[in-house]
């Protein structure tokens, strides 16, 4: 996911000049998307009556619908533009990302989705706190949900500003900030009006658009190469100027011992992070049964897998048809490679076909960002309202109405914070933020989730050690890593206190999260009812008895 940062990097470089010429078309398409989705949101909002509707879309969605929505939540601009761009510039190494992102879904399918659906109600905290002392564990779960979501959200917001600015050819700070504000407002509207129902429909629409757009470009690329993968790869290798090494691992991560270890660390965070991402986990509550949750993950794996396969065509297609200079001139990290490819394959900068395809792909990219930030805002406001407000602050005495109201208010606040941070962080390199979101999710959330579901001896102390330990260690290590200081690409390049060499903390913090949960449990006493509570959780998670 660290690809997102590249969106944010050198926005001052002029976008594809032609992008600004096609601005009216791009804006029109994008406006159509916003108007339609807001219409759907209002429609869904009218059908949102109680807390279950707001948090879980009434649990009425089918496995396929939810699978589509999960794909929509998961396929961010980072994977669409970032992976295509990374492949276009680094060849094979860009491809490595998509594999980690996809394989990670097996953890969700095999270990998490069904038990979570059976035992939880609205949030990840429901499951983590099930057998534990409610208030401390809910607090911890809420904190880690909000931290993960805010890091992820911030990265998307910064990316949104820079990317949209790039594609629309807006270079001024004010223009970019306005876009961040606009994105923030639309996302707040989605969440406060439509709740989970509205947001789910937005995700589905976005997923269809993204897949549709990608299918068209992929088809055109393959058509150009007579549907021959080998000749596409050959042309990419030759045109990239890097020859055969373009098709082999190592261009990006094989540079030094540290970069190799960093890649292992990243790989670990990717594969273990997905099943701990709160905005993904709450999607499993939108279907009626655990079986439907399983079905939705299967659909998601199919859709996301096919999508990532197509990004290979996009990336190598861009490398084959555009010069490396054209790609880097537009955006040093390659994030505009996919839109540029669309333009090229449609007939070039001066053709109508090129203009239409460029506008289409750009509008899809905006839609992608909007939908993903809405999902993140919903996850964090749900957790705030349900875990922190209703169960910790009000000690379970808030009415359903008050709880949903708190969720709406916190969505506005979180959206506001995201807008503010997005503007403030506009110049920062947000690489660490998304990688950190995955690393925190893998270090703090996943161990607790798995121990809670599968380990009888797990205790409240273990849960707290694991959540806070994973959370603090991952944030701490990133703070002292080259992501924050010491390098040109750091957030603060002028200072240097980076003693931790890796960009991604996962290699240390994930095992630490698991270890702390284990040690904390062994060193603390099982609180009497733990056995009975675990019996209830286990029976419920495996059979669905008593499930909401």
């Amino acid at each position: 996911m660290s690809l997102t940062h590249q969106v944010a990097a050198p926005a001052t470089q002029l976008a594809a000049e032609s992008a600004s010429e096609h601005r009216p078309l791009i804006i029109t398409l994008f406006s159509v998307f916003v108007v339609i989705t807001l219409g759907v949101t209002v429609w869904a909002g009218r059908r949102t009556k109680d807390a279950t509707d707001f948090y879980a879309g009434g649990r009425q969605f089918t496995g396929f619908q939810n699978g589509l929505a999960i794909s929509g939540d998961y396929m961010s601009a980072a994977s669409f533009l970032g992976i295509a761009g990374a492949i276009a510039l680094a060849g094979y190494d860009g491809f490595l990302y998509s594999i980690g992102f996809l394989v990670a879904w097996l953890v969700a399918l095999l270990l998490v989705a069904e038990p979570l659906r059976n035992s939880g109600r609205y949030t990840m905290g429901d499951v983590l706190a099930y057998r534990m002392r409610q208030r401390p564990v809910r607090t911890a779960a809420g904190v880690s949900t909000i931290v993960v979501s805010i890091f992820y959200l911030l990265a998307q917001m910064v990316g949104a500003g820079a990317l949209v600015a790039l594609l629309l050819g807006i270079t001024g700070e004010t223009g970019k900030n306005l876009i961040v504000v606009f994105v923030g407002i639309v996302m707040i509207l989605y969440v406060t009006i439509g709740g989970m129902k509205g947001t789910t429909w937005v995700q589905m629409i976005k997923a269809c658009l993204l897949i549709g757009g990608t299918v068209i470009i992929t088809f055109l690329v393959f058509h150009k190469f007579n549907y021959n993968l080998s000749s596409l790869l050959g042309a990419a290798a030759e045109n990239s100027g890097k020859g055969a090494s373009f098709l082999e691992p190592g261009l990006k991560y094989g540079v030094s011992t540290t970069s190799k270890i960093d890649f292992i660390s990243l790989g670990l965070a990717l594969i273990l992070g997905t099943a701990g991402l709160p905005h993904i986990l709450i999607r499993f509550y939108t279907v009626p049964t655990a079986k439907a949750a399983r079905k939705s993950v299967n659909w998601a794996i199919g859709i996301i897998g096919v999508f990532y396969l197509m990004t290979i065509a996009l990336g190598f297609g861009a490398a084959a048809l555009l010069s490396q200079k054209t790609i880097t001139d537009s955006n040093a990290a390659g994030n505009t490679a996919a839109p540029l490819l669309a333009q090229e394959i449609g007939g070039g900068a001066d053709s109508t076909g090129g203009a239409v395809l460029l506008a289409m792909i750009s509008a899809v990219a905006f839609a992608t960002i909007l939908a993903v930030v809405a999902g993140l805002t919903l996850a964090s406001s749900s957790s705030f309202a349900h875990d922190l407000y209703a169960n910790v602050i009000r000690r379970g005495k808030a009415t359903e109405k008050e709880e949903v109201k708190a969720a709406r208010v916190s969505a506005v606040i979180i959206g506001g914070v995201a807008i503010g941070l997005g503007i403030f962080a506009g110049k920062l390199n947000v690489a660490g933020l998304v990688a950190l979101a995955f690393a925190v999710a893998a270090s703090a959330n996943l161990p607790t989730l798995l121990y809670s579901l599968f380990w009888k001896r797990f205790t409240t102390t273990g849960a707290l050690w694991s959540i806070y330990g994973g959370l603090i260690s991952s944030v701490f290590l990133v703070f002292f890593s080259p992501v924050v200081t010491g390098k040109e690409t750091s957030m603060f390049p002028d200072v240097d206190f980076a003693w931790f060499p890796l960009q991604n903390p996962g290699l240390i913090s994930i095992p630490l999260g698991f270890l702390l949960g284990w040690v904390g449990s062994l060193l603390s006493k099982d609180e009497g009812a733990g056995g009975a509570k675990y019996a209830e959780l286990e029976v419920r998670s495996m059979t669905g008895v008593g499930a909401h």
Binding site: L102, E114, R121, S245, I264, V297, V545
Partner: protein
């Protein structure tokens, strides 16, 4: 009321204790079936993925060997990761549908019938949901499930 299940009052039953179910042969079989399938498989696909990561890192020459045309081993390996992911998802789902779902379903139906009986017979002994507040909905456990 939602977090205090341990009142040892006689008479009407408190929250259902599932320890007996957990220790029953029927549930044990379901759990064993699930765990013995899923745990080794998880270890397997994570190891397979890490092998791929390590080979990409440390076996560049091997990965660069061409297989057909411009398609090299690295590419085949990458596509194989996609393929195994699809296959494992399909395999698990089929296994779950055939081996786990019927058992889980049977157990659920039985337990729910028992719980209904308890509620009918035990008066106030409603099964508490300690995750949230049920408010108003008395026996509304299944309302939205």
């Amino acid at each position: 009321m939602d977090t205090a299940p341990e009142h040892a009052s006689p008479g009407p039953p408190g929250p259902r204790d599932y320890t007996d179910v957990q220790h029953s042969a029927e549930f044990g079989e379901l759990r064993r079936g699930y765990r013995s399938f899923v745990f080794p498989l998880t270890v397997g696909f994570i190891a397979w993925y890490l092998l791929y990561v390590l080979l990409s890192n440390y076996a560049g020459d091997f990965m660069g060997t061409k297989v057909v045309g411009n398609i090299n081993i690295a590419f085949v390996f990458g596509l194989a990761q996609f393929l195994t992911t699809f296959l494992i998802a399909w395999w698990y789902s089929r296994f779950a549908a055939v081996k786990l779902d019927p058992k889980a379903e049977a157990l659920k139906t039985r337990l729910e019938a028992e719980n209904l009986q308890r509620e009918a017979g035990g008066g106030i002994g409603h099964q508490t949901d300690r995750l949230g507040k049920e408010k108003g909905e008395l026996a509304g456990q299944e309302d939205d499930a």
